[in-house]
Amino acid sequence: MSEPGAADGGIGAADGSLPLGGDTSPAKALAWRGISFEERMASVDFRVGGRAHITVDSDVCRSCTTRGCVTACPANLFAPTSDGGILFNYEECFECGACYMVCNHEGAITWTYPDGGHGVVFHHG
């Protein structure tokens, strides 16, 4: 079984290239039958903007016991921190909305769209 683990995000660069040192990346743990999570995400065109379109109030997250966002996020962008908070990386986001939908703590996740023209671009959706 996979451990969402403490992926510190930044999986892959904006141009979709694989990050260096992939062997040591926690994302490696998300490999499923021959395809690593990095390879999976590297197949997607992300045009990363300069503004974080989703923000997480880690103080609110500290009181959360369910942490639904951590497993539901298909891009695996939510990482629990050692002090009980949540670290969020906005760069490779599908903009699906699963995170704020499953979040049961008012105000923990502020969700908007990336600026126009930025974010995920599906070519084969």
Partner: protein
């Protein structure tokens, strides 16, 4: 874009709902602008298999001769599976492979751009890479336009048509949709895999532009949902849809479910050697009729996924056609309201009345109890295995023991999966009531 821009209507989102709305308005001679947040129409969109084209017949005559199709679906299969069994009902039709066709597979960046092109050809204006960040209201609270992220520029019009998709921030801002109600949504994840056309043809038993759509039940570890596999020209798309709260509670990551399905003995041989082209994820509004928002408020209409119009009724899984049908009707209603000089909720009410007269709301209303049945515990966790075991019991030759009767096999299969015959009968009746 001039801040004083003045249109008869602003359409937010250039997906199939938005483009259809803009097309209807432009054809009526209205000035209309579509605001699309992606760099091109379809760039934010993902779907799960088939676009059913009948809705286009009246809107774009002979649409099939120009639509960007991948394959025409001639085989429709509904498959139930356990970890190591599967049972499929596989229908094949010659008629579906010739004009006017039934359903097609396509790629949303192509299809949505084509449909948006129809709107712009008719005179609609398309502004891409622009987010409608919020509603503009007058002193009485009526919607009179949208604010954009282009230096905060506003677009004013007597009607705004929100076709901004499943997360519709505009419908939420207008108070029509709840902020977050996870139980009304499923998460879909999809892999598009490269596979040569001739290999697809051989493995799926088709040729030329013929295609296959397989819908699957029982492949989601008991999490309410399902899977799909369909053929494109030179790729195949495989995906899984899972109830959002159940997925979250199960602590199962979505890509695990896809990996399970790809490794299934009935699926793996079809995909051997296929390589990942693109991974995608999207929410789907699967709650159906009872979760739809009010479709109109003063100065604003809601269409497509923004209005929860995806039909997820087990046997029928449709969405793009509902987006087109609702979008076009919204455009026509907006035109009538502008003509009458009344764009209040009352003035826009003909939109809903129109949808009730056609498939969009008629199908949804008739199948309003289907999503709950399809996602129910027995359908999801027990019946796929029960039916597979029933097939195994019927088709396993037990010589020298004599054959067991059908009732005995049914009893055994039901007992094994913890289903009482009474429950089986009740669910059959319930299914007949909903689908019959």
């Amino acid at each position: 874009m001039a801040e004083s821009a003045d249109f008869d209507a602003v359409v937010v989102g250039a997906g199939p709902a938005g483009s259809s709305a803009a097309l209807a308005l432009a054809r009526a001679g209205r000035s209309v602008v579509m605001v699309e947040r992606g760099p091109f129409p379809g760039s934010k969109n993902v779907y799960g298999g088939v676009v059913y084209g009948r809705v286009l017949d009246d809107i774009i005559p002979a649409w099939w001769s120009e639509v960007p199709v991948e394959r025409w679906v001639v085989r429709r299969s509904t498959m139930m599976m356990t970890e190591d069994q599967s049972l499929a009902i596989d229908y094949r039709s010659h008629a579906w492979g010739v004009a006017p066709y039934n359903g097609m597979t396509t790629v949303r960046s192509h299809f949505d751009s084509w449909l948006a092109g129809k709107a712009t050809e008719a005179g609609a204006r398309l502004v891409t890479s622009t987010v409608a960040t919020g509603l503009v209201r007058d002193g009485a609270g009526r919607v009179i336009g949208v604010r954009t992220d282009r230096d905060g520029a506003e677009l004013h019009a007597p009607v705004v048509i929100a076709c901004d998709g499943v997360n519709s921030l505009l419908a939420k801002e207008a108070g029509l949709l709840p902020h977050a109600e996870a139980s009304h949504y499923t998460l879909g994840v999809k892999e598009v895999l490269d596979l040569p056309a001739e290999v697809i043809n051989d493995r799926f038993g088709v040729r030329g532009h013929e295609g296959v759509d397989i819908e699957i039940l029982g492949c989601t570890r008991g999490i309410p949902g399902g899977g799909f596999l369909y053929t494109n020209a030179e790729t195949v798309s495989i995906g899984v849809v899972a109830s959002l709260p159940h997925l979250s509670d199960a602590k199962v990551r979505p890509e695990e479910l896809i990996a399970d399905l790809k490794a299934h003995p009935s699926i793996a041989p079809l995909l051997r050697g296929a390589t990942l082209r693109e991974y995608a994820a999207h929410l789907i509004p699967e709650g159906g009729y009872d979760t739809m928002p009010p479709l109109a408020t003063d100065g604003m209409l809601v269409a497509g996924d923004s209005a929860a119009m995806t039909l997820a009724a087990g046997l029928w899984l449709e969405g793009v056609n509902f987006a087109i049908g609702s979008g076009y009707a919204a455009g026509r209603a907006a035109d009538r309201a502008v003509t009458a000089g009344d764009c209040s909720a009352r003035g826009l009410a003909s939109y809903r009345a129109d949808l009730e007269q056609q498939f969009v709301l008629a199908d949804h209303k008739r199948l309003r109890k289907a999503p709950a049945l399809v996602l129910s515990e027995r359908i999801q966790q027990r019946y796929p295995g029960l039916l597979c075991d029933l097939a195994e019991g019927m088709f396993t030759v037990t010589n020298p023991s004599p054959k067991a009767g059908g009732l005995r096999i049914t009893r055994a299969a039901a007992a094994k999966h913890g289903v009482k015959l009474r429950e089986l009968a009740a669910d059959t009746l319930r299914g007949l009531r909903i689908f019959g």
